[in-house]
Structure formats: structure tokens, C-alpha cells
């Protein structure tokens, strides 16, 4: 992948990331013809899919007049892909979970100020990931979708209505712990 930023001013990448697990329903959804057409009509030029352990393999495409599609399974440089993307579509599991490779991809994306759609996997048993995705969507930091509604979300989204995410701060916790133990405030 020659992902050099600034190579091409018109390059607008959609980066889809599944994380360390699999999420075939998401990969299938972004690989559908209508979805790719939707992305192209929104002015995106590239679709890059990190598919994780999934078994569904999307179709590569050189692009030309339409959307260029490429994929890979894992990468140690997820951060670079996030940086060069115009839109990130992420598996909700990337919020936290036991995700060592791309730990907290979603917070990383938010901190970078990238536009983000989080897709919830409803097949997972302990689906607490949607709690946070929905909360952050309510606060307009990102869009939250299901694989079957992703197409509609992209068609309807108004990326300018998203609000910037201000990173959290651990000092209140540290202060309370100090106070509890009897350490003086600084």
C-alpha cells in the first residue's frame, strides 16, 4: 500500500476496521455494489478494509472511474490508516474489548477528529459495546449503525453536524483517591 499523504489531493479514503475478531456482516455490507456506489457519489475515492479473522473476502478493485477497493487482515500501523482516512467505519468492539492490536481504535479516531461510523455486531452475546456507541452517538460524536442500516446511515449522514470529542481527564479520580488515603491536595 503506498499510502503517502498528499500524493493525491483528491484522494479520500474510507477505512473500515473490524479489529482482532471477525465481523463478516460488516465486510459484506461495505462490499455491496450499492454501498460502494453511495460512497463514490459522496466523493470518496478509496475503500480500505481491515477484515481481521473474517472469512468473507471482499473484491479488490483498481478503481479507475469508480471506487478503488483494497483489503488486508491485520496491520501494526492501524494508526497510520486512521490518520490518512477521511471517514472511518469501525466495529463497535474496537471501543474497548480485549483488543490489543488496535486498542481503542474508536477513541483514537475521535481524538484525531476523524468522522466515524461505529457498527454494532448484534450477534455478540454480551453486547455492552452498543451502550457506549449509542451514548457517543446521542452526544453527536459519531454515527452508530447496524450492518443492515449502514447504507442508509451513509446516505443520510451530515458529517458537519458531528461535534468534536474532547478527550477525558483522569485527574478527578486521582484527586479522590489521594483525598481518600489522606494525602494532601497539591
Amino acid at each position: 500500500m503506498g499510502d503517502h499523504e498528499g500524493d493525491d489531493r483528491t484522494r479520500r479514503v474510507v477505512f473500515v476496521t473490524v479489529g482482532t475478531t471477525s465481523f463478516d456482516a460488516l465486510v459484506k455490507a461495505v462490499d455491496s455494489l450499492t454501498f460502494k456506489q453511495e460512497l463514490a457519489s459522496k466523493g470518496y475515492t478509496h475503500l480500505l478494509i481491515q477484515m481481521g479473522r473474517g472469512s468473507y473476502v471482499p473484491t479488490k478493485s483498481e478503481g479507475g472511474n469508480s471506487l478503488a477497493v483494497d483489503y488486508f487482515t491485520f496491520s501494526s500501523s492501524i494508526a497510520d490508516h486512521l490518520k490518512s482516512a477521511s471517514l472511518v467505519i469501525s466495529h463497535a468492539e474496537n471501543l474497548v474489548g480485549n483488543n490489543e492490536l488496535n486498542m481503542s481504535t474508536i477513541f483514537e479516531t475521535l481524538r484525531l477528529g476523524k468522522r466515524l461510523i461505529v457498527v454494532v455486531n448484534e450477534d455478540l452475546m454480551d453486547n455492552h459495546q452498543s451502550e457506549l456507541a449509542e451514548e457517543l452517538a446521542d452526544r453527536k460524536h459519531l454515527y452508530c449503525a447496524r450492518p443492515q442500516t449502514l447504507h442508509q446511515t451513509v446516505a443520510d449522514m451530515d458529517l458537519n453536524s458531528l461535534l468534536p470529542y474532547i478527550p477525558g481527564d483522569a485527574t478527578p479520580v486521582a484527586k479522590l483517591i489521594n483525598r481518600f488515603l489522606g494525602f494532601p491536595d497539591d
Binding site: L95, V96, G97, N98, N99, E100, M103, S104, F107, H128, Q129, E131, L132, E134, E135, P167, G168, D169, A170, T171, P172, V173, A174, L176, I177, N178, R179, F180, L181, G182, F183, P184, D186
Partner: protein, 242 residues
């Protein structure tokens, strides 16, 4: 009364009656012991959630449980702002299957040591712990693995005996917290347990959080969303860590 003793004397040879008296004795002894233990547990629960009076001056030995992935990321955010000279020495524990977390803690400690001109082994130690249950493991085999994990956790806790425990889930911290609570009851060591619920929990506590909250094992339980504080009033709302 005298009649009762006569009866006892008469029946001395009768093992059945004798053991009856013994069992009455044991029974009342047991009741006393159980009552004392319960009182002690209530005492620990009551004082556990209350701040220490007075001024702390000495540094406290601190056990930091790294939960892997996002949990570790949140914990490292907390460690970044905590006064390292107060929370020392630091013992880092992570699941044996998680090699990233300890590496990250090691990086943090290395840069700290470089800043202060100290040696890492003097301020920090890194340890691994067996997990009671891996994601997707069957519940039957997890009984056995839980026992091993408990024994290992006990061994670690005997070695560390921390004054402060910082943890934020998932389950890795539960055996350690349970043993710390037991040590408190037995008077071996009074550890203050601080649990920070993950940012991913907006409406419901995680199983670990719920256990520590309901059994009052955590001295303080912090939550990152106001909805959780509404539902669990003893939890302290602290805002987002990420």
C-alpha cells in the same frame, strides 16, 4: 441443674449423650465464632468505604491490575496523572495471556526511572496471573481454572500485601480483590481497593463492578457516566478517562 449434671454423670458411659453435649458445645462455639466473623465483616464493610482520617505522609505500596486492551489504556491514563512518589512501590499484574499490558507498563516505568534517575526494579515489579476464565471457555472447565487462578492470586497477594489496589476490570482483578478483602477481615493487611468502571459501561455495571459494588469489596467505585451514578448511588461519578 443438679439433676442435669446427675444425668450427665449417669450417662457418662453413653457415648451418644456425651457427643450430644460436645456437639452442643461446638455448636454454641461455632455460633460465637460465626457471629464474630460476621461482625468483623460488617466492620470491614463499614470502615472500608470511609476515608482515612488524618494526614498520610508515607508512600503506599500499590497493586495495579492491568485488564488488557481498553482496560489497560484507561488504567495507564490514570497512572499518568497519579503522584508516583506517593504510590510506590508499584506492582503491576496482568493476565498471563496478555503480554501487551505489562510491556506498556514497563515503558511507562522506564521513562519514569529515566526522569528521576532511579532504577526500575526499586520502584516497580511486573507479574503475570492466570485468568479464571478465557473468553469463550466452557463453564465446566472454568471451575478448575478458577481454582488454579485463586491459588495463584493468593500466592501473589501473600507476596505483595499491597496497601492500595487500583483496578478497572475485567475479571482478572476479582480473585485479587476477594483475597484482599479476606486479608482485611483476617487483619493481615488493610488494602484500600479502588475500582474504576470501564468507559464502555454507560447504563449497567460490568459483572466485576457489580460484584465489588454489591459485596462492598471496593472502598471506592468510580463510574464514568452520570447514568451509572444514578443507578448505583454509592458509586462516584468522575467523568470520562478516555
Amino acid at each position: 441443674m443438679i439433676g442435669y449434671f446427675k444425668l450427665l454423670m449417669m450417662d457418662k458411659g453413653n457415648g451418644c449423650s456425651f457427643s450430644g453435649v460436645v456437639s452442643t458445645g461446638t455448636f454454641s462455639c461455632a455460633i460465637v465464632v460465626v457471629t464474630l466473623i460476621l461482625l468483623r465483616i460488617l466492620y470491614v464493610m463499614y470502615w472500608g468505604s470511609r476515608p482515612f482520617g488524618g494526614k498520610a505522609t508515607k508512600p503506599v505500596s500499590t497493586l495495579i491490575v492491568l485488564g488488557s486492551g481498553g482496560h489497560t489504556a484507561e488504567m495507564l491514563n490514570l497512572l499518568a496523572v497519579i503522584q508516583k512518589d506517593r504510590f510506590t512501590p508499584r506492582f503491576y499484574v496482568a493476565a498471563a495471556t496478555d503480554n501487551m499490558s505489562l510491556q506498556k507498563a514497563q515503558l511507562l516505568e522506564n521513562s519514569l526511572a529515566e526522569e528521576n534517575g532511579t532504577r526500575v526494579p526499586d520502584t516497580a515489579q511486573f507479574m503475570q496471573i492466570y485468568r479464571s476464565r478465557e473468553v469463550g471457555q466452557s463453564y465446566i472447565t472454568s471451575i478448575w481454572t478458577t481454582l488454579i487462578a485463586m491459588a495463584h492470586a493468593l500466592w501473589l497477594m501473600i507476596k505483595i500485601r499491597p496497601q492500595v489496589i487500583l483496578c478497572n476490570g475485567p475479571g482478572t482483578c476479582i480473585p485479587l480483590c476477594a483475597i484482599a478483602f479476606l486479608f482485611k477481615i483476617l487483619g493481615i493487611r488493610w488494602s484500600s481497593i479502588f475500582y474504576v468502571e470501564s468507559i464502555a459501561r454507560v447504563r449497567r455495571l460490568s459483572l466485576s463492578g457489580l460484584l465489588l459494588y454489591k459485596l462492598r469489596m471496593a472502598d471506592q467505585l468510580f463510574v464514568q457516566w452520570p447514568q451509572l451514578h444514578g443507578k448505583y448511588p454509592r458509586a462516584t461519578y468522575v467523568g470520562r478517562l478516555m
